[in-house]
Point group: C3
Chain length 361, copies 3
């Protein structure tokens, strides 16, 4: 029988053979110091990076979460066309966003009207002198109506093509400053967030155990005085994100609310707390201000005597996107062994490689 290139007496003997490298001991202060230093680095890496920083002794899990929000607040507006008007939640909240400015076009109906000058209606064929300038059935995807082929008076001085559309057409004006619902900065939003780490069967929510109903009915989040209150004032969110609410409200925008749940489940449960950060997500680069902000068009439909009419609303709003991130760790023997083993092996080799290079010189 042969094993490892050498002939053995029996297979059993061969099975119990153990081969190890012959070792040479170098007794030198400089080499020894470097060797111990290298081992200290390996040890520091394993303890500091793998164990403390990366928590390599823990098994990890990512968060599953559910978020619901509720906005509160009322605003009073006084404009020439609408008069004194009150707005509450059902009026200004289109599910995922808060309208800070609503522009209501007049009531519209499906009728015929002039297209208006090209400044507000891009594309060909808006101004005309006779019906020959207008193409029957023509419509540009950026315009709001289908041309009938007739040329009619738009104003005293101007004639434009007639269109079949929801009339009167919207005017493409720039949004007025200040926003209509300037008081929106005092609105509050209650964010209810429940999280779950399925691997560890751990549940928690951002309304912490010590928060009671009476506190919840009157508190407002403040990083220093009320860090556990899940009710946020819109103006505070904007200022924490480094934005001016009134400026942002004019064109609308998207505001990100990030909730971070980094939990070390080897620690007491009360250490596992949400951290809130606010950040504007849409562009606000002044050098690149093409198509700024965020707005949405929607309509309320009415029927009067069988005829349908609608109220077209162009809402410049602030949309809140709530993002929940999180990772939980808990001690587990398998990743501990794997990480320590891998740490020792990898950095030990790097050390050895360094020494081999050293000795060759």
């Amino acid at each position: 029988m042969c094993c490892g290139g050498r002939c053995c007496v029996s297979m059993t003997q061969c099975f119990f053979d153990y081969s190890t490298s012959k070792v040479l001991v170098i007794r030198s202060k400089s080499v020894g110091t470097l060797n111990r230093f290298c081992q200290a680095v390996v040890l520091a890496y394993i303890i500091g990076y793998v164990c403390v920083l990366k928590k390599g002794y823990q098994d990890t899990d990512t968060v599953i979460s559910s978020v619901t929000t509720k906005v509160k607040g009322i605003a009073l507006t006084n404009t020439s066309d609408l008069g004194l008007r009150i707005w509450d939640v059902a009026d200004y909240v289109i599910p995922p966003q808060v309208a800070s400015r609503r522009e209501e076009a007049k009531v519209q109906a499906r009728v015929l009207c002039p297209l208006g000058p090209s400044s507000t209606n891009p594309g060909p064929g808006s101004t005309c002198t006779s019906g020959r300038d207008c193409k029957r059935g023509f419509h540009d995807s950026r315009q709001n109506g289908v041309q009938t082929g007739r040329c009619i008076q738009f104003s005293v001085t101007e004639k434009t093509c007639e269109v079949l559309a929801w009339c009167p057409l919207e005017k493409g004006n720039d949004p007025p400053d200040p926003p209509l619902l300037a008081e929106a900065m005092n609105f509050t939003v209650l964010i209810k967030n429940s999280i779950r780490y399925p691997k560890f069967n751990f549940n928690k929510r951002n309304i912490l155990p010590h928060v009671n109903s009476s506190y919840l009915s009157q508190c407002v989040f403040n990083r220093t005085t009320d860090p556990d209150c899940p009710i946020f004032r819109l103006g505070d969110i904007a200022s924490e994100a480094g934005e001016d609410f009134q400026t942002m409200a004019v064109h609308g925008g998207v505001m990100g609310v990030q909730i971070l749940w980094d939990c070390n489940l080897d620690m007491p449960e009360s250490w596992c707390m949400p951290t809130y950060t606010f950040r504007r997500l849409d562009n606000k680069d002044p050098d690149n201000n093409v198509a700024p902000g965020y707005n949405i068009r929607f309509a309320k439909y009415y029927k009067n005597g069988g005829k349908e009419s609608r109220n077209l609303v162009k809402g410049y709003g602030i949309r809140f996107e709530i993002m929940v991130f999180g990772k939980a760790g808990k001690f587990n023997i398998v990743p501990t062994l794997l990480n320590i083993g891998a740490g020792l092996a990898l950095l030990g080799l790097v050390c050895r490689a360094f020494w081999i290079l050293k000795l060759y010189d």
Copy 2:
């Protein structure tokens, strides 16, 4: 020429030098047994953990998916203020959720009315004796109207500040038990889910190939008898999640439907099947029942003779959040080699480290 610290005849010869450790063979039963045992552990780790459990020989991809849902069901209610009433899908489905309880406030209009006692309207200035107790223009973000500064009769015994608001104001009552749409537990939801693993160009959907139209028109999901039917009864979802539908329906809640697609694409395609799990995502901790459940306010607007009115609806509903998870694996030579190499290397080293420690004693 010199290489590795020793002088060589030529650079070519040096290039072909190969240096290996001198090996010492220990012929001992105890050492040999431990050595073979250590090798067996390494082998078991590579085969068991890296190959079988972690499928280290496969290239993996995560799922891209699309989900659409359709709810079906009708409910009949008989309440004192609304009379006998029929509700169908368009009435109770606000896109992502099912209202199990709808509370319709009376028709509201933008007029003046008394604020009501402080029990239902938090904040200062609700009850008053004269106009001096009311501040003109004052409003709290938690109240529903702007004060006019007058103090008017709310009931025979009580006077409260007058507000400009959508009147009559909502009453902040606790939701009645049982829920209005108790029959919602018999509603069904059809979940259509298509998945895709882009790296393997693999598509599948949860309506499996053997499911035909006639089966789909009458089946209901049941884990034992109809595991492939993508139509779920709301009551079944709740009971699988360990919840009582009627209790949950009172305050509303968020129900998570998790669809797991873990596919081994080395196996026949029919083995790649969705697994459904249901879990309540919002809080249900009895010790922490501040702000429980889930509700949403929305309004239907009407116009009668130019005057706008609205029907404010406070819906206590169950929101379904459908989450699709999945990972697919398929044999690929690159990860196979890398994982086997790494497995051999890492655990071999751990073994060796153990032996070195052993021998030093």
Copy 3:
């Protein structure tokens, strides 16, 4: 004092001991060639795979993004029941989707009407001869009304059970071909996408710095001529995804727009560009066409003289799901060292293992 199994003069001397393997140099052309080849493979792996392909010298971060969309376009329809009609954005966009086909049932009210034959109303008890065939209070979750227990004339030849429902009931017809809003393929959608790599404090958006307002007001995305225009024609999206818009519009569907931002932040910022890919996400497998497409029911409510009526709309639409993916990398010394070390160690070992096997033979 003893260390490493041997007795030493002092602990200090022991501390500076360094032990290394005794090395055997084999001077053989065949062995040397294989050795150098193995080293070349290791080097190629580290440079090619770890550094160039996997960019192991970079620290990475995943994208946080915000997306808003705006659809433009008008359509003119001429049907027998609705007459000449104009549709604009507020009419056909239900927030996340575009209706390419809308089927409006007649105006409905909560009254009594016959159920209709079983072909359109699945479940028992639709056709009847007398009241005994109808169960008072019975309803199937797939039907649209609650039976009153009476049997009434549905047509001249047929009698069906009477139901309390939103009447007249919907007819379960197959959708007509071609789609009602065939012009929807010329609609355009503007996608505004802002991204952020928080670790590198890097922001960008898909409206690139060189795109100005006038270009944006008239451009349409085209992979060769206008790759930077963020305005997409619906028909183009469908054809890029290999679908026929008109076919897809009949039953509706879900279209995925994937925006990929893979950025190497060691390169100039202008190299970090979005890549758009389009893909149909719902099923289109001809062998598995049960419950195809995507449709949604919603209602517009009206009140005439205190009586509520509604317009039930069954919209067959195309839902756009915009998914943003991305990873950014930037040079960092820590992952560079770790990856090179690990690369050397792992593949060096694999090499060595190969040699040990070789020498044993």
